[in-house]
Symmetry: D3
Subunit: 128 residues, 6 copies
């Protein structure tokens, strides 16, 4: 088990990030990822700020951003991130049917990605 830094035990630099996370999300709880990352306080701050910037309202809808994050997390095989971003996507509106289609795409991509690599397929000129 990794060390999880609780608010009560955190120094001011870590508390400031926890406060920002809770304020941004309207919760009174910080999830384990941040508590584990708090072993590196500058990394905690930088990662939170980068994530906030990347997931801020943009041209893509919040639910689509979460679904893209989920597809990437599933593909890289991160169990924690798959669980947390599936929960976030659902909270932002992903339906069961959308989740089913996302899952099918991630599985199909895994198969064709592997085959294209195994066959060392040259990129067609029209894709460049």
């Amino acid at each position: 088990m990794p060390k999880l830094v609780e608010y009560a035990d955190a120094g001011p630099a870590v508390r400031a990030v926890y406060d920002a996370i809770m304020a941004a999300r309207g919760t009174t709880e910080v999830n384990n990822f941040w508590k584990a990352l708090a072993v590196d306080p500058p990394g905690l701050k930088r990662t939170w700020e980068s994530l906030s910037q990347v997931m801020a309202p943009g041209v893509l809808s919040p639910v689509m951003k979460e679904m893209l994050y989920l597809a990437a997390s599933m593909t890289s095989g991160c169990a924690y991130c798959t669980a947390s971003h599936a929960a976030a996507a659902r909270a932002k509106g992903m339906t069961d049917a959308e989740y089913g289609e996302l899952l099918a795409i991630v599985g199909m991509a895994a198969e064709t990605n592997r085959l294209a690599e195994a066959l060392r397929v040259p990129v067609d000129p029209q894709f460049e």
Copy 2:
């Protein structure tokens, strides 16, 4: 370089799949992935049929399906698939700004996926 099976050299089983691909896409060209996969005719047929089913109109829009496929392909590091699905996503309407946001999410996910795994973070009960 892998062997690429051209239409003129293909047997009837392979030609039938090539015909289906060209009909579905309204083109007169089959891209290299299928020409390489044609070394395994049953696999060519099965993969095309599965892909058609997965990418058929559903609850997610065609462009969002392509963007999810692209995010998965980028994450698994398949250069061919990244090129082909980026082209497909653009053909279906992905803008430069949307591509930029997708790229940022894929990069950010890679970082937090790795950190969550490196820290062996336990999944929070509320995500289950």
Copy 3:
């Protein structure tokens, strides 16, 4: 391009390994993998000796050993290893039909591996 150490330019420690490779394979040529690895002479020797031991005649047939090596190399996405072990498997008897089935298994495994991870499926007691 990596540095490739040719026989003529190699020191005695590297030449000894090159000699062993050529003798074991009955060729007068050393393939690029070893020429690139020769930047680390002790690593060259250790890797060659380990590989020789692993690929030596055993309970599995030589062609099956090469096909397992190929399946692993395809799955890890190593283009060089995929090319070299496909050539080795063919030299040891892998047919086109066997290659087609291997390719299908590698593709299918990629899909179900990803889905099982994405779904975080608990291992059934009977598999333990």
Copy 4:
């Protein structure tokens, strides 16, 4: 923990696949992978049918097919698939000695795959 769809709670589309799995395997139990995948009924059906086709009797023996699946699953780091395909391979005749050789090949491939990529070794002309 993912949601596992039990037979008693499944709709007719899912039950039809479960029936097919149990009939094909001669068991009265469906393993967790399928119960988890049942959240996407069309994906469950498509994946089962593809897997049945890929693992059907062919030019490779059933045990060799399972061993190739196992090597791919180990390489992609899927714990569930490693456990389930190791059990399947043993059920189809893989001995302890064969398992040991498979394990050694998977480990050795991981090392040489990584080294070949790290050294960016160009593919030798004779492998093309």
Copy 5:
């Protein structure tokens, strides 16, 4: 080939990052990674700033930081990053002998990482 944004064609936001990169490195050239990432100007800025912070002087020496970056890049199979960080590590003092040891560690880690995953080894209590 990806689009590479040259200084002459760049807008002010991109030029500002290019100027910062050249100033920090004391060069008059920006390498291709940044020119490619410039398709997403906010991502270019955020990534450069994060990288600068991570690679800034700290408790680890500059050459050790580059060698760790190189080991991670080799392990994730990024050819571009392997080439660029090998060059950076050499520029900061990595010797041939140090490179050889790094390579051996990366290869050995790949093998034991894969074996530990394949065997699903439980973490010993003393490592927690």
Copy 6:
């Protein structure tokens, strides 16, 4: 759970490796990785001897070798190896601040590795 071969149940070939491990490390305990690998006695011996050679005193300090091993293990997503090599690195002198910097580099490398691959960035001539 994998089978773990305890000393009392091991044959002479396995015991000889366990004795060598305990002697080299000055402990009376063998960690689980070796107990699991003992299902393949020749692989156990070969892996231990290769690891000993790679991690032997060299031009890099013992703590730096462990930190490189840790960075590679984190990047390949091996939980067991991450735990064991983090413990080994700490035992050889890695401080909390050094661990924090290593973690930040591993995370940053994951992001830029993925972006460089996703953008298919061509290697700059000066890096060759």
